[in-house]
Each structure stands twice: as C-alpha cells, then as structure tokens.
Symmetry: C2
Subunit: 84 residues, 2 copies
C-alpha cells in the first residue's frame, strides 16, 4: 500500500483572490503580522501496490486530473505502508 | 520572516464527497489501484517576525479562521526564513 500526499498550489504569477480575502480577514482579526496567504489543495491518495512505476502513476494522476498545470504547480510525497 | 504551511483535512469520521468523486473519476481513467482519496486544504502563510509566540499565533489563526474544528483537523509546519 502506498500513501501519497499531493500538494497543489497556484503558480506564483497567478492571482489568488481567496488568499487575499483570508489575509484581509486575518488583518481584521488583528493578525497584522500576516503578509501573504496562498491557498492550495492537499490531497491524500491511498494506492494498492501494483506492477508499474508508482512515481510515474502519481505524476499522471496529477497531470490528468488533480492539477490544472496551466495555472497550478504540484508536488507529492510517496510513503510505502509496510504491513506489520 | 516565517513561512508557515498549514494542512487542513476532514476528520476521519466525516464523509468526503469530493474525494469520492475524484476516486470515481480516477477509476474511469483506469487508475484502479486508487483505493481512497481525501481532499483537504493547503495554506501557505508568510508572517513578519514580531514579539510573541509564533506557535501560539498560528494555532489561533487556524482555530479562529482557517479550520472548522468541528469537522476538520489541522497540522502546520513553521519555517524561519533567515535573510542572507
């Protein structure tokens, strides 16, 4: 079994209105130390062990479905779950 | 400057219809190894250095605004950005 964590973020050049709204709210709550907020997605996948390259498979899943690579970047971490 | 990464996930007992929809889509794309998908949020905060406990401040920000602690869990990582 593999536990995969995928992090999807907007590219730096892309405006993040949701992040800007959260920043304004934090300022209204008097957290003025907050200089920037960027909001992305965090996706946990559980995959069965199968033949084939897990790394390649996760990259395909990200490119085809999870991330919009025109405006988003993604990174991932793969963890093998070894049954006791 | 602090770079803070916040991960917000639905509690285990809470249904995740968005994750279920993504899982179904992945199966239709023939990624049948995918057993489970859970979708959460990933938030990057940039904070100015100020007096006071950064850890406590981030916890407050999560509890008051970023996470709905009734149905969501959160974890975070704080990284100090040392200017060169």
């Amino acid at each position: 079994m593999y536990n995969v964590k995928v992090f999807i973020t907007l590219k730096e050049s892309v405006l993040d209105p949701q992040g800007a709204a959260v920043k304004d709210s934090l300022h209204r709550l008097t957290y003025n130390a907050v200089e920037d907020v960027r909001i992305g997605k965090y996706i946990e996948l559980t995959l069965k062990k199968e033949d084939g390259d897990i790394d390649q498979q996760v990259r395909e899943i990200c490119e085809k479905l999870l991330a919009n690579t025109v405006i988003e970047d993604y990174t991932y971490e793969i963890e093998e779950d070894i049954p006791q």
